[in-house]
Symmetry: C3
């Protein structure tokens, strides 16, 4: 395990106190003990440090913690993540293609990969160096997976889809299922073959039981660095920009385009064929039915600027009392009218 000095070198952070202490574990303030490092990102929680028996704390400049070694840096939350990676983020040693995995002889396998039992790898699949396929992963014919990916158990990738480097896919996600396309034929629905693919660029993360449909023709595209939470639905021919966040249970209908650095809140729905600008936030459970400009926050169904929505939903709550006001006004006007006419 590393010393506090070693962690500081890794982070480019400053040590205050004994840098030779060996750190075994990251732990929350309340449960940290000797050998643990903890962190304070929010000054509100500084008081809790008094009682801790932790060995060190990650903290912003300008604070004092008597008796506690400090790792001082500008972004304790990011430092916390990096220390956690240093302490707990080791990749297991590669195990090769294990007994009980079925790999087609035409597949091209990089070095230092692991393919667990129960995986099925189709024809002409390419798997990059250092990638791990956990048990039960299925890669249909022609799939490409880049280097240093973690493809968790039960992930199912259909024919021809392409996954970049350092992509993480949580268990049960489906990549490349048929888009939902049918042509009415007068009686019912005729299936439109979905002959496109899905492309996930580098550093994308895909949550558990997510569904990303292949394009009808062309590509359903998730760009570099985007993170997708569990149970999200991405329909055919959608494009998601770079470094965008899709929170759990979001649904995005066909051919819509979401920009870079957006955040789409949980359970929100986006209609098809719309365009969301860069740096836009959509609140949880919103229903967005038309294009949204860049850099703003939207809420509600149909979506509106968040401030408008706050006012509108406060007003909805007060509607019953407003209704009473309106009927009392109605009565007072009737009386006034009577009075005025009588004179």
């Amino acid at each position: 395990m590393p010393t506090l000095n070693e962690l500081a070198a890794l982070l480019g952070a400053e040590v205050v106190g004994d840098g030779s202490v060996v750190i075994h574990r990251m732990a929350p303030i309340d449960s940290a003990g000797p050998g643990d490092i903890t962190f304070v990102a929010n000054p509100r929680y500084l008081a809790r440090l008094k009682d801790t028996t932790a060995s060190a704390v990650i903290i912003k400049p300008g604070f004092e913690c008597p008796g506690l070694a400090m790792l001082v840096c500008d972004n304790p939350y990011l430092a916390f993540a990096k220390v956690l990676t240093a302490l707990h983020g080791q990749r297991p040693a590669p195990r090769g293609v294990m007994d009980g995995a079925w790999v087609d002889s035409t597949a091209e396998l990089g070095e230092d990969i692991t393919v667990y039992p129960g995986c099925v790898v189709g024809k002409n699949v390419r798997i990059g160096r250092g990638t791990i396929l956990y048990p039960g992963v299925v890669l249909y014919d022609g799939v490409e997976v880049g280097e240093d990916c973690l493809v968790h158990a039960g992930v199912l990738v259909r024919e021809g889809c392409r996954i970049g480097h350092r992509v993480i896919v949580q268990p049960g996600a489906v990549i490349g299922s048929d888009g939902f396309g049918f042509a009415p034929d007068g009686r019912g629905y005729y299936k439109i073959p979905q002959v496109g693919i899905v492309v996930l660029e580098d550093d994308v993360e895909v949550g558990a039981n997510v569904c990303i449909d292949r394009a009808a023709m062309g590509v359903t595209l998730v760009k570099r660095g985007t993170k997708i939470d569990n149970l999200v639905q991405i329909a055919h021919n959608v494009t998601i920009g770079e470094d965008t966040i899709l929170v759990a249970q979001v649904g995005i209908a066909g051919s819509s385009k979401v920009g870079n650095h957006c955040t789409i809140g949980g359970q929100a729905g986006l209609a098809g064929h719309i365009k969301i600008g860069d740096n836009t936030m959509v609140a949880a459970q919103s229903g967005i039915m038309s294009d949204l400009p860049a850099g703003q926050v939207f809420s509600g169904t149909p979506g509106m600027p968040h401030r408008e929505w706050l006012k509108a939903s406060a007003a909805v709550k007060n509607l019953p009392s407003m209704r009473k006001t309106v009927s009392s006004l109605q009565k007072r006007i009737e009386e006034l009218e009577k009075l005025v006419r009588e004179r």
Copy 2:
């Protein structure tokens, strides 16, 4: 690959121009090149044909495309789907029960099937001619799957459920999970065994990671030709009619009945024990809590006729300004009352 004349014969369409050209691929207008066929379903996009180097276009009667062979027909969108099927929809040659598949000796297997590695087929299962089970499909005891089905990777079908002919199930779908039924026993919940099944009739399509629960007693039924998008939840004892469309992330609670030719929009929720008439549309994200008549469009939570909802949601957006109006009216009335009384 077929010639344009051969495709025309297949569709019952008319060729204008050189019918002997060989078609290799369907492509969107913008990316189509020599050897490709493209299509124009919407006259708005006709102008784009000027610059195309495609070999042919599928188009309605009454248009001219100098220098481009035309496949003329009344329903270009349907023709597009059929040409796509002709060009790209070939089923792979059957491979039988492959090494690494586990099939119980009591299972009845039709001719020309494929069972990929990682599949597990239980006792007394019946699989019809031409059906493909992709890797990792699990059929519990007593399951029946009809002819020419595509059951994609990781689909899980529990005991006794029955699937018709030409059914397509996308990866990860679960058919026949226990309905959510518990009897309060004074302290907590006592599980009610779910002893019914799921029946999917012919030509149904089920999306990725969909869940269709088995009936408590009897049958959860999805009728002929109905198409279900990804991540939809269908509870126990539900009946879905024929040729109905359930868009992604819809949830339908127990014992409800949806009619024929309905469309239920994405993320909509239907309460339990209600009945939706034929040809009814429910807008995305609606919450339907009571029966709906046939042939109309409903929106909102609770659901209301779509036109009402449009007015109501416009009014909600204007609520804050209406609120100001009401308080200004209130003041004016007070002043009037004062004035009138003073006289």
Copy 3:
């Protein structure tokens, strides 16, 4: 099969009529025939008993059913569930670790277990007596599963998670996927390793394709007796109390705490870091953004007491007519003002 007297003994119920009749099946009133037992929980349906050819009925005290044997008890619905269990709820005989299952040599396996083909069991896993792993279950290293559990096909449990006794997990559920945690690093997002686990206590049921994320640090906890319907999302560090019901497609964001004996309706969403009191009900599709007290019913987005919501949503429906009222009031006031001023 049991006699009516035997079922009565099991339930502590009273038999009226011929207790020696052998019961083969539970069936709904409309389809029950000779050898079947049916039940009436709701006195509304008593009339239907006239025409039944069932052999017996489960019924509350105080009713008469000439010609029909009766199992009389205070809670017919609970009795129905228990009889159904007696008739149909037998566990299959254990089959041990079957061919085609991959179990690491360090795993500790209890007696009378079944591990179907296609299962993969990692290092140092512990499986309790009588538990069944259906085909394709994956238990990562260090997972613990208690006694008499049913873990259905394709369930994926990540490293170190712990499952209690008598837990039922429906097909395709994912337990222990990474929580959705990322630290902005100025350009994009840096992944925060999720080093906690998931704990499911005794008698929990988890629905099909549910996702329960592991804690960032510590535990995501589902307490004893809680029942989770299909496609529910539970984020990292959430705690769900005892005997709570989460209906299908609910989403609960990170670190929130739901009390005991709550019911969260279908498609409802709970924001992160909030606390829901005991015995609280949240209506379907609600969006709860702040703490809720115990013992009440909440609806809407943002959530409000159910009665308020009923009034507010009725008022929303009447908004367009209220709008007309307000503008007519406006005109009448203008006329009055004119009249009064003119005098």
